[in-house]
Symmetry: C2
DNA sequence: GGAAATGCACTTGTATACAGATTTGCAAGC
DNA sequence: GCTTGCAAATCTGTATACAAGTGCATTTCC
């Protein structure tokens, strides 16, 4: 599949949204972007519409596009949806996983364990944090892969990405959220995350769909609460109103 | 919100896909469509991309767009996702519903009951069928509304629409799927659907989230099996091979 | 001085022209 | 007969010009 200009524009803009270079609310004007990216307005327009479908950008007719701002209501809704999907997918993973899937999940888990221990021991975190986040993502992706449902996997990954808008600002080069709270708090949080992951892995490994689902739901609930706390404290326009005037008619 | 030309093109094409006028696999060429709709290629292109995001159209770079064809694998995945979302949303509806929500659900349910009885009694169905389908949709929408999660509601309705591609062909004017099977079979099926809906409503009304969820999951499971049977029999490029009876029994 | 009106700058939405890719039809070669 | 190569036809992707809507600032009027 050949890469066309609209894909170039899409990748360019998306990267900058996820890295935090374009913060929530930032205006995305087609002419400006087309100049920077080096393509015409048409593919830029297309890229913006695709990003809107991803949930990273909001577009209002004749008023232009901007990086999505999420309010608390929408964040809760998104998390609730993620809870439903990822919980179900985890149950499927417990039933459908192959041995290779299981190995991949455990690799990610072991990687996280090592990094977490080193992070707790260390004073300076930054180089290890990127790796930890990468392994965390790897863990979740491995489970979604084991569930053997590409559609759900895609949708869940999409939600993960949109979630990152809330957890910003992030390290511009790595895309990893900057640390929050005191070190003991962060250490405690990391231990809890690891314990959750252990529980999820064990349940999947022994094929216990119900326990796996519950463990994943608890884990996501933790993440939700963390997100809500961040939104409450950082504010910075995140909690302001947000109108999605998308009225889809659902009948013929 | 002003209606722009790309919206006109979107509505035009979408309507024809859902009505079956553009069947699965039908090529959607920008120039031809722009001529018929009376706008230029640019808004048509945009509309096609939006329909792709909806899951109704597939686009391959430089090869053009066509109405989405669904294979069995994708259909199962979609249904499984719907199961997860709609089950969860039903549980939420049991917890979050207002009295007005409950009334709206019961109105739809009562409407369906009356229509079902008249349909079973009648010989000629066509005028009543449209109404029955409308009330069925109304029932499901009312529950999603009661769940108080607009994001999930939107996603579920999207999946409902994509589902309709499988249940085609439909009555061109009303968009209602044409009847299948013998009359006793259809009557039996309608009674079962109604009983399912009753069960779902009762559980929601008494705030029993677990029972509501389970009832909705069973109901959707029924729909899934019906869809798989239709796919197996209608074929028409939808499936590559004949299904075994085992495959017809859907179990995630 | 403040509110309404008006004009301007800017941006989006749309039409259209053009370049490149893909398919199709046909003829030549094995 | 079937494949292979080539060229025309066709369609997509992109650039660009133009029209129309929106917000802002200045002006005008009370």
């Amino acid at each position: 599949m050949k890469k066309v200009n609209s894909d170039v524009a899409y990748d360019y803009i998306r990267k900058r949204i996820l890295s935090g270079e374009y913060p929530p609310g930032h205006a995305l004007m087609t002419e400006e972007l087309s100049g920077v990216i080096g393509v015409s307005r048409t593919p830029v327009r297309e890229a913006l519409h695709k990003l809107k479908a991803d949930g990273l950008v909001s577009i209002r007719a004749r008023l232009g596009a901007s990086v999505k701002k999420m309010d608390v209501k929408e964040f809760r809704e998104m998390c609730d949806m993620r809870l439903a999907l990822e919980g179900h997918a985890t149950a499927l993973a417990a039933l459908n996983h192959s041995q290779a899937d299981l190995r991949e999940i455990r690799f990610a888990l072991d990687g996280m364990r090592g990094l977490t221990e080193r992070l707790i021991a260390a004073e300076e975190e930054s180089p290890l944090l990127d790796e930890l986040v990468r392994e965390d993502v790897r863990f979740h992706i491995a489970i979604m892969t084991a569930a053997k449902n590409d559609l759900m996997k895609g949708e869940i990954l999409r939600l993960h990405l949109v979630n990152r808008i809330v957890f910003g600002p992030v390290n511009p080069t790595s895309g990893v959220p900057v640390s929050r709270g005191t070190k003991p708090e962060r250490d405690e949080n990391r231990r809890r995350v690891l314990a959750s992951h252990d529980e999820i892995y064990d349940a999947i490994a022994r094929g216990d769909a119900i326990a796996a689902k519950r463990a994943m739901e608890d884990h996501i609930q933790d993440i939700i609460e963390k997100g809500l706390r961040i939104m409450a404290h950082s504010g910075a326009g995140l909690i302001t109103r947000e109108l999605t005037d998308e009225e889809l008619v659902y009948n013929g």
